[in-house]
Symmetry: C2
């Protein structure tokens, strides 16, 4: 397996090291190549994602990314120029984010119940396309726009993917989250697409929630969700909510998939670079390890993926929730469990 | 006080009746005129908001609205044609939504702490403008767009309003919620505006959160928020989250303000028409009563407003959280408390 690794900024390198450790424990054939991308490269050279690097990345089976971002960089530079550029250039149209409340993990909810959902967030369209502009900047007549672009092609493929995932799960339930009563143009495309594709999946029950109502349900009744399909921006918000109610960002994994297999998919923890704790060895690498599990599953290594997930589930069920996380120790434990 | 009343659909008429009962108990000079708008009028006549009705509404000091919406009406018709049209035509640029965890109210959070925030949501711009369209509908080449429009004029007035509210509160803290790292055009306008206006309010401390991170904090640490300022769509989401963690939609009040005073402001519970429980007398009118409290405050009747809020606070602290709500009984109790 040829793996490109982008450790990135802040705690990125620390958690990626542990992710690789666990990956190697179950998949000894991993050949990894590190790529120096992120805030420090930009600070040093002004480069974000040189075309030659992008070409090299394309030659890999998958990409493992730690975290990108530093407070010293103005907002948008690294996000648009590196992280989102990777997602768009590599056609990562499925942003896959499972959220499960593991045994032994404390939820901030008083009565969380069983939570086990899979969020399928669209990754290459919507308000993330960067379309828009600023007119008469810094005058009282300034106008700033953001354009959300949604195509039948783009919506249909991610909706179909979500139905396929729902079909493969015990509950076979799919919830579309949008805001069709206000964003009527895009909302109509999303609703019609779900309705049409649902005809091919009669076994899957379908629900719809406006994003505001859905956000409440993440707090009051998250167990109602099985598979969720939603647009790029709503998905950004609800996946953080899903992470919050299942024990926080330290456990939230994600995959940016080109489901067609044309380009390598990219796996990254949902959390950011957390510069405040970087270098202290206290970042929880579990989200990165779970992302490595998604990576293995995506590459058709279901057995190896299961080992990683089982290791995490066991470790979480026996962790002392009061104890300070030590990044390396968690990685060592998980590698031993997964590889043993 | 000349009050226009739009009971609307579903539980709207029931909760509005109780809201009026409490309002009259503290403000005997209320002269109310009911307006028949909503799903049933549209079903009967095809009318949403006739211009003559809009003109009449303008002649009032304020508007009290119950709820608009019915599953028999396609999404967007009533929202765009009636509810949002009222907000836009009457220039309700401040959508004011307090969220406080009252004593005696159960939060779904295990450790909610003290929650007392005021969300100032922009009400006349952003992704709510209805700008956008659909090209090649129902073909594989369909494209649907939504345009978020943000103006210096519109952002500045709501940001200034939020700073004024923050200055008047003990904690004097304001949080901007946006997604400046992705929506860089609109995000830049919002950030720059907050920075500029903050120079006039040196006593107010300012924070910024991306909407995804903020959503997590609503679940993990809602007590950190004092005043929030945000755009129309993010405000829609985070105010439902704020409602969820402070005991739910049955308690969430809102005011749609033309802060300039040119047009009447409109007060409504955040909840919808809840057709499933309509007519059963079990809807909680508390959110409508608290909205009436906002109405009184907006009209300079601070004493009357305080009476309404104190009645609600007392009643909630003594309610049996297990007991079934009876709409009329709650209204009677609150009216007696507020008027007594
Ligand atoms: C860093 C940011 C651009 C990114 C996003 O908004 O997608 C992040 O929040 C995420 O969810 O992966
Ligand atoms: C009904 C809908 C148009 C409305 C909105 O999105 O503003 C509602 O959700 C609200 O928050 O008042």
């Amino acid at each position: 397996m040829r793996l490109a690794v982008i450790p990135g900024d802040g705690i990125g390198p620390e958690v990626v090291a542990e992710g690789l450790k666990v990956l190697r424990a179950v998949a000894p054939d991993v050949e990894s190549t590190p790529y120096d991308l992120g805030a420090s490269r930009w600070q040093r050279t002004g480069e974000l994602l040189p075309d030659t690097v992008l070409d090299e990345l394309r030659q890999h089976d998958a990409i493992l990314l730690g975290a990108i971002g530093d407070p010293s960089v103005p907002p948008g530079i690294l996000e648009r120029g590196l992280l989102l550029r990777l997602r768009f250039e590599l056609d990562h149209h499925v942003n896959l984010r499972p959220a499960r409340l593991f045994d032994g993990v404390r939820s901030p909810l008083a009565a969380p119940g069983a939570i086990d959902m899979l969020c399928v967030r669209e990754g290459t369209e919507g308000p993330y396309v960067g379309n828009g502009g600023v007119l008469r900047r810094d005058t009282p007549h300034e106008v700033a726009t953001e354009v959300s672009l949604n195509t039948a092609f783009g919506v249909e493929r991610v909706v179909r993917y979500a139905f396929e995932r729902a079909l493969a799960r015990p509950r076979r339930h799919l919830t579309l989250i949008h805001k069709t009563n206000v964003l009527t143009h895009a909302g109509s495309l999303w609703s019609r697409t779900v309705e049409e594709v649902s005809a091919e999946f009669p076994e899957v029950t379908v629900a719809y929630q406006h994003v505001d109502a859905a956000s409440m349900f993440f707090v009051t009744d998250p167990g109602r969700f099985d598979v969720i399909v939603t647009d790029n921006l709503f998905g950004d918000i609800v996946t953080d909510l899903a992470a919050a109610v299942t024990g926080g960002i330290g456990l939230a994994a994600s995959g940016n998939l080109d489901a067609s297999g044309t380009n390598p998919s990219m796996f990254e923890p949902v959390h950011g670079s957390a510069p405040d704790i970087a270098g202290k060895g206290v970042a929880d690498p579990t989200a990165t390890v779970l992302s490595a599990g998604l990576l293995l599953d995506h590459l058709g290594r279901a057995d190896q993926s299961r080992k990683v997930n089982a290791a995490v589930a066991f470790d979480l069920s026996t962790r002392d929730p009061e104890a300070q996380v030590r990044t390396e120790e968690v990685g060592d434990r998980l590698a031993a469990l997964a590889g043993g």
